[in-house]
Assembly symmetry: D2
Homo-oligomer: 354 residues x 4
């Protein structure tokens, strides 16, 4: 049984790890930490776990976490970078769900997150935890930087097109919409039911922190396809990314727009071929429109491809659950890979529908 | 592997059976029928099952169903009674999620459902599938009449009080509220998003089909506690039942009101003692208020007991998922009992929260 | 043009006053105060008012408020009692939407609200602002204590029964459910979309602050009907009140239960006769079930009466918008009465449906 | 008092006309027709109108409608074209909310709507009812073709850019999302609460009926700006339009993407200047993100303009209520213009928020 520690287990991604681990046949949460709620049973915050997970939140403590096989960070950015070095030194592997190790360019990270990075020496060894792209590297990694929720959907949606080199990289658009749980479990007026429900809006249209992460990922993919070196990747991709806030709790829907440079390509076949062996990426039949409820609570990502009116614009529709494939489910998928388990272990449950 | 057939698998309780069976380690859906959708893969109706369940809807056929170990009916009332006799004769056990075999008094059934009963000879052998009440009989049954969603919540909430004989049976009130999925997957104006969402209402305040089922169940419990015979039970219980429609998909919340005849009783201790060994009934600590999202998609029923201002009125709060503990989950719980499996098999997943 | 001041205009009842005054032909908001947002245009908080109301929040100031004809308090409890004495002294009438002057028994108020009352000398002159009960007194009042949202629905629902003296006062039950806006516009985890939406729960089942207000009101009604004096009212009413939280923004639905002492009464006729001349109370035809969306954003209260299965239990269903008839709309109705305007002035708009 | 007839008043746009007319000081609904509900009071379908509008649905009848000053069609496409000729002949003006007269190219209309057009001779005299574009023509019109809900938002969002000629017409993108009421009040599985709520999806990504209407409108605007003739407009605009379904009842949010051909343009100033005198178009301050609830139930359209990361891509965010500015409110705005009333008459109410 793999012993799992979770730092910052009071938030929604922490709770999602606990929900998924509760049915994982080969892993078990053994330590859950929280600075604010120490001493409190997890069921007091999450009654859904009553009688299922009997852990109590404890103060984060490296000695205690060192007894785990794997430690997840489900913390806001800026926390993992302070504790990860000590944990890695104790020989424990780390899967970080936060943004701390996602961006290779430290200066870029520091400008978007407005603080100096506390563990820049670890950045080069962090592996970007997108299995569909990095499976082999993940298997050997000691530190996983799990992709953000939006970046997962955008990269999985553009991946086949960029690998095939059939779209114009200078004008990519990602129009995304996320459920409210993406904002976390913090008291804020903006996330109140009365402000969010029965409504819809864009936000951060002039610039969002996930933009540099997505661009780095797309550049890597494009450079690989190109034959140029990953780290020497020229910043060729020009991406417009506009996130929106949905009046639902879970779910991301991303609508991608790109211009085909090769109109003869069969985009449906391209996507099907690329993902045929992927356990969690499901390419829908031509003409389909994936709905977020078809992945609610599951680790699946569903994709459909369209060419409106048969033209050269390609529209890709991608859905995922932001807490599952967009965060905790993807983290457990990485854990399975690291531990040599079948990738689907504990992640096979279908979505909750209706 | 237990082979499971599902008649009427296109509705929400049918789909819920499929969702739960998808992760059941010892049972598998092998036949799913639908008169309207035969030939269509289940994933066309429920994309959440794509890549997980590859069955195709077929025309209901007794020969085919006879190859199953257990057949579920997830049909509207009036269907099971026509097919169940043949299926039972072939030695296959039946779990009926519909109302066909719930009420022992045929005339009462016929008056509420407005049609003659097609298999009245089977009613006496039908076992009411509430494991918390009838576990032993369920284990030996060949025909299970699964309780309705409202009746499950009302009976589990009143059960400890009635068994203890400490409330006035002449004035019981059940104020219930259900999510919209209880209305099924039929096109109707009343269940449109524009009519239901962002709103709330009572319905059937003057009389609802679940009323006689609940009263029968409560009378049985009271008579048993009393020492009088079950089937000779005098109709002692007087119940007011008012259902309401919630703008959510899943979940029932029932608020029960009763007058204590013995004010010295410790209701919290009473409930805890009654349900201490029940795997799916969770009595919350004193002062709690269960929320429907704490059981969303799970087979748990959570209960809290209050005595407002310390008086003689007892208020019981009960939550369950109407599609799971209120229907399909309870059906699988019965199946596990019948098949000699641990009752929790395949039903241990926590609720989806948030 | 009546000049209106609003103290605490940043909350939802304050915003609702502004929304209603925007279309009131004979009153106009001229001063809006907020300690936290002074200097900010109201449209920065409520973009729905952009181009319609151009006021800026100012620090609460008695001199400025004294230039109004009427001052509304849309503040949490404990605020009005400190400012109202000064404002009344300046000859300005006050309509308090908070709980400060609703309860005549100061000790009771202080025990429920956990603080000493700052203006107890004013309590006797405060008129309870329920027009259907107190229209004449409201017309002459200088200080109005507007009823709470729940109390409005419970009192309007029981009023005809209590006036007719046809129900048992010892066992009244009010099972209420409110939209989230009742919790106000404060950052809190409990009111987050992720916590509230797609869910339902009871709260404060063991005792809620609105309980003493409702009991006082029902006692007054019963005592009046009885011929006993209002202020000498013996506390004859025994009420169980359980509030619930709905996953909607606006709307209260109250389900009332009482036992008829006179089963021969025609409850439908009773309700229709009582409210025939009330502009904002609509008794639905027999057999109806009012839905909260039928009053969303309007000042109407809709009521239906049932006797389930023709028995002696009477069930009353009441809907109102908690921010309108349950707060700000009722306040403006009182203002219209005080100012000698037709009671419907500015309040005639139908609900927003769908 | 203007006498208004409404054909097809049972649907949501019909009900919205009634809601708005209920507070219109100079117009009144006098005839409402429905083939399916004749003889039924409108309040039976829309309890929100009880006591406010006492009309009864009647069979559509030209003689009766001819006694009105204006007749609205709130019917599905294909109905107005059969009745409008007779009504116009009787000297009554018509405002058609359906698609029947929006597209000048009859063959194009027939191919998208799959039926022959029944009144093609009237198409040339129909005026497209977008006041911000066509105010003068509307004032003199006898037949108004009210724009569709999506087309209103897309055209108002692109209008300033196209008039200024500062974007590349060959690559315009409109990513729109609509509330469910846009699908009308028809029983359908796809619009059930259980299917739509707590979810999000695109639809008709490969082609939607509003596409030709939008393209015609954008071409007209571009051609006017160009100096080329409207009707001889070369089809210069290349638009990708992807609609999405929001789990809300009312509201459209459109996110537009275009490439600036002149990066020196101050887009904020451009939008503010264009709409400074428009009563119902509100350009938000730079950096804003309009939310659909800021226009819920109101006739306002709110717009914000962004240039992400200061680049040459311009992103326009547009919100409107699909039933109000997107349908019935716009129709009444046209009626006001035709009748010489102030354009805001009866339409000044702010949005319902929260």
């Amino acid at each position: 049984m793999i012993k799992v520690g979770i730092v910052g287990a009071t938030g929604y991604t922490g709770a999602e790890l606990l929900r998924l681990l509760a049915v994982h046949p080969q892993a078990q949460a053994t330590v859950i930490t929280s600075r604010g709620e120490q001493g409190k049973p997890v069921a007091d915050l999450y009654p859904s776990l009553r009688g299922i997970i009997d852990l109590v939140f404890s103060e984060p403590d490296v000695d205690q976490l060192a007894q785990c096989d794997i430690v997840f960070f489900a913390t806001p950015h800026g926390v993992a970078q302070n504790m990860v070095p000590d944990i890695l030194q104790r020989g424990v592997k780390v899967i970080d769900l936060s943004a701390d190790f996602r961006i290779r360019d430290v200066a870029l990270w520091e400008s978007w997150y407005g603080q100096p990075h506390g563990a820049r020496e670890l950045i080069p060894q962090a592996v970007y935890g997108l299995p569909e792209l990095n499976r082999d590297a993940i298997a050997k990694a000691t530190l996983i930087a799990c992709p953000g929720c939006y970046p997962t959907s955008v990269q999985l949606g553009f991946l086949p097109l960029l690998e095939a080199g059939c779209v114009d990289l200078c004008d990519l658009i990602a129009n995304s919409a996320s459920g409210v749980s993406g904002a976390g479990r913090q008291a804020s007026i903006g996330a109140l039911h009365s402000e969010v429900s029965d409504s819809f809006k864009a936000y951060a249209a002039s610039g969002h922190r996930h933009h540099p992460e997505i661009v780095q990922g797309l550049n890597d993919i494009a450079a690989l396809a190109d034959g140029t070196l990953v780290n020497g990747a020229q910043s060729s991709v020009n991406l417009t990314f506009v996130p929106h806030l949905l009046p639902i709790n879970r779910g991301i829907h991303t609508t991608l727009y790109a211009n085909l440079t090769d109109p003869s390509v069969d985009v449906q076949a391209l996507f099907e071929a690329r993902y045929v062996n992927e356990p969690f990426v499901d390419v829908l039949p031509a003409g389909s429109h994936p709905q977020t409820n078809s992945v609610r609570g599951s680790n699946y990502c569903r994709i459909a491809v369209h060419r409106p009116n048969g033209g050269t614009k390609v529209v890709v529709l991608v859905v995922e659950d932001n807490l599952t494939k967009g965060a905790s489910g993807q983290g457990i998928q990485c854990m399975n890979i690291i531990c040599g388990l079948a990738e689907e272990t504990g992640l096979a449950a279908p979505a909750l529908l209706p």
